[in-house]
Amino acid sequence: LGERGDEGVGVAEGVTAAGAPAEIYRSYLREGKLGFQRCRGCRSAVFYPRVLCPVCGSVSLAWEESGGRGTVYATTAVYHRDHEPHNVVLVDLEEGFRMMSRIEDVPAEEVEVGMSVAFDVREEDGEPVAVFVPVTETGER
């Protein structure tokens, strides 16, 4: 992963060498890891993955692996006529980026804003999907 990070995706040859941002993100997930980009120019954490920094415009973006620790920023339970509601959240990761996900192992309505969560991966229809599980403040699942 370090090698891949060094290549970046910022310049034309980098894109060719490292692959499309969405593909790199997926390859991290397949290895059970949450990848995001860090701008080499302004140090902003960038998510979703792109070919330029939406803060400063730099095309020099390095891939990093997130520690996977975050806090629920917003939450909703989506209701269905024929089965239990499912949860959709926005999670703020400690590295400074936000992503949509869901919280596993807890009923949809019991997810709360401010809850500490940790990254995990689930496979759905053959594709890895980033999810989160509740943790205590000391990090225990």
């Binding site: 979703y48 909703t76 959709v88 959240v89 926005l90 594709e127 999907v129």
Partner: protein, 382 residues
């Protein structure tokens, strides 16, 4: 160069609304509304040389509308940023008129979503980084914003419900409103949950409907049938498309579009006689009242409570009953303009606001994504 007062809305109309019945197309409703708006203005179809439209049905909306109506515009603008597009079209039309690129602009919209499917028709694509989590588009995005507003400011479901109740009280005064029966805070909170904390009565209606607005230069407007309603100010802003990319879920880009419009108009929130906000969901009204300066950030919940935005309340908001109780045909922005113009022309019957000379129209599009504010005024406000 300022656009202030350079252009005016000279004709407005709704198409048939509510549920028009099977077989009608969105273009049929656009045809109805256009014909009525031309009659309202005392203009002929041949006078129209600028065409503005957005649609979830037609990939190239101004082409489809122009063809159906038999209009060959010299200026064509199909800007689509969701439900706010038509307020943006008003802004863009005034700019084009000021620049001499067209003289009479038609802004038109129609939808048959209720008769066709009963569901919101949306051409929105799913973001691959959101799709796996199956948010219900667009309600879950607004629900996420509501959850954050509740967390940061203690806003309650009761306060959100007050928005729906106020809209219903206004709708009772509007014969064209789709929902006019009694509604209580308890009814809203007890209704079927859709995407928490928003229940079905926190959500706008799904109706058929359309509208048309005609815009021309202030000079030409003075010779027409109806009193001109001048565009005094306008501003637009957007910061994101997808809800996961919205920087702060409790502050929309209305915090920029509003000040831009106020600055152009030389007016502020306290000068507004009528406020017409895009209330796709109850949280919208709370957010936009804050972002547009009618109350402090975080105070929207208390501000809308106790009947303060109901008929006879402190601030006149959404006199037609809004998207929540009047009509919401997929994209609602054009109907905001229709109501503001009618209030400023004094045509609103039971719900008419006395001495209304200024109106703020605020359009929202996507998932709190695009925000467009326009300030309209009567001759007296010029």
């Amino acid at each position: 160069m300022s656009l202030r007062g350079g252009a005016a809305v000279v004709g407005v109309a709704e198409s048939d609304l509510g549920e028009v019945g099977g077989g009608f197309t969105p273009l049929d409703l656009i045809g109805q509304a256009t014909s009525r708006a031309l009659e309202d203005a005392g203009l002929e179809k041949e006078d129209v040389d600028g065409l503005f439209s957005a649609s979830a049905y037609y990939h190239m909306p101004t082409l489809s509308v122009g063809e159906y109506l038999g209009i060959r515009p010299r200026y064509s603008d199909a800007t689509n940023m969701g439900g706010s597009s038509f307020v943006s079209h008003l802004f863009h039309a005034a700019s084009a008129i000021e620049a001499g690129l067209c003289e009479v602009a038609l802004i038109a919209y129609g939808s048959t979503q209720r008769s066709a499917s009963g569901r919101l028709v949306s051409g929105s694509e799913a973001l691959p980084y959101e799709a796996p989590y199956e948010p219900r588009y667009p309600v879950s995005a607004y629900a996420l914003a509501a959850s954050r507003h509740m967390y940061e400011y203690g806003t309650t479901r009761e306060q959100l419900a007050e928005v729906a109740v106020a809209a219903r009280e206004w709708a009772k005064l509007n014969p064209k409103a789709f929902m006019r029966d009694d509604l209580s805070v308890e009814d809203v909170i007890g209704s079927r949950m859709v995407s928490s904390p928003l229940s079905v009565l926190d959500c706008c209606l799904v109706t058929d409907g359309g509208g048309a607005a005609l815009v021309t230069s202030a000079e030409r407007a003075r010779d027409l049938a109806r009193p001109p309603v001048y565009l005094l100010g306008a501003g637009e802003a957007h910061w994101h498309r997808n809800i996961s990319q919205m920087p702060d879920l409790t502050t929309s880009a209305a915090a920029e579009s509003g000040p831009r419009a106020y600055e152009m108009a030389g007016l502020g929130p306290s000068d507004m006689d009528v406020v017409v906000l895009y209330d796709a969901f109850t949280i919208n009204t709370v957010l936009f009242l804050e972002d547009l300066g009618f109350c402090e950030k975080g105070e929207g919940g208390p501000f809308v409570s106790g009947g303060r935005i109901s008929p006879g309340g402190k601030l006149v908001v959404n006199t037609n009953g809004g998207g929540l109780s009047y009509n919401h045909p997929g994209m609602y922005g054009l109907l905001l303009i229709v109501e503001a113009v009618r209030q400023l022309r004094g045509e609103c019957g039971e719900r008419q606001v006395a001495d209304a000379n200024t109106a703020l129209v605020h359009g929202n599009g996507g998932v709190l994504s695009s925000q467009v504010t326009a300030i309209l005024g009567s001759e007296e406000a010029l």
